[in-house]
């Protein structure tokens, strides 16, 4: 029962964040690339002022999987690194916290490019 509740919370919050993205695509001239950049920066801001953490606690992957969660992770990384290392953490925290996801994406992109055949997107 607890599992199903957690899945539903992730589904609804994650779905809502994506629906906001779709509204931006349909009603504003924002391109997908700009929406991705906006969501990450928004995540840094919301994570920085402390609004995003309650959402993460409530929705789990519903808040961490959308790109706003990536932004919040960057902010959290900076905050944690500053607590540990002082001012150096301003420059090390963001990438330290997000290293796993970024390195996985780079490696996966290279492997897929090497192993798969490009196809036409007609």
């Amino acid at each position: 029962m607890e599992l199903i509740e957690a899945l539903l919370r992730a589904f609804f919050v994650g779905g809502l964040i994506c629906a906001v993205g779709q509204l931006l695509i349909d009603y504003t001239p924002l391109t997908p690339a700009r929406i991705l950049v906006s969501f990450v920066v928004l995540g840094v801001v919301l994570g920085g002022i402390g609004i995003y953490q309650p959402l993460l606690d409530f929705a789990g992957a519903g808040a961490s999987v959308p790109l706003t969660g990536f932004g919040a992770l960057l902010a959290k990384g900076v905050r944690d690194a500053m607590a540990e290392q002082g001012a150096i953490g301003i420059l090390t925290g963001g990438l330290t916290a997000s290293a796993g996801g970024i390195t996985t994406a780079i490696t996966a992109a290279l492997l897929v490019a090497l192993l798969c055949r490009s196809r036409d997107k007609a």
Partner: protein
């Protein structure tokens, strides 16, 4: 860099086809929510395997990135994205797709300036502005003596 322009165009077209908000928004909600629910399932699974909360969340993101890369390589992700719009763009799987897709597509221009460079056509700006925003946040904290 006119290629970047056409990539933007291609992506814009891919994600904004059939612009009918009353059907697009629910589809984005359902598919985006579904990806997040899958992520929550992964977190629960990794937690049960004994990973602490933050590592389970990181492992979930990495798993989704790998799944997205595989689906992109097999041409499945783009087919879902045609319907899901922001539902497949906004989750971390969309970030992975934005890297894998050009990495594969521009292989014909070589592994260095094709695959290696073009995989950052969209991921690059996301990293540039995300990381810069986090540095700005750190500076603000520092100025207010919260280091």
């Amino acid at each position: 860099m006119s290629l970047t322009e056409s990539e933007y165009d291609a992506l814009t077209k891919r994600y904004s086809q059939n612009s009918k908000p009353w059907i697009n928004v629910p589809k984005a909600f359902l598919i985006g929510g579904g990806i997040c629910a899958l992520g929550q399932g992964l977190i629960e699974g990794y937690t049960r395997l004994g990973l602490p909360a933050d590592l389970a969340s990181g492992a979930c993101s990495m798993t989704l990135v790998v799944l997205s890369a595989l689906c992109t390589g097999l041409g499945i992700y783009d087919q879902i994205a045609r319907h899901a719009g922001a539902g497949t763009l906004v989750p971390i799987t969309g970030f992975a797709n934005a890297m894998v897709s050009p990495a594969l597509e521009f292989k014909s221009e070589g592994l260095i300036l094709g695959t290696g460079a073009k995989m950052f056509a969209i991921a690059g700006p996301v990293l540039v502005y995300g990381i810069s925003a986090s540095v700005l946040y750190g500076l603000i904290r520092f100025l207010f003596g919260q280091a």
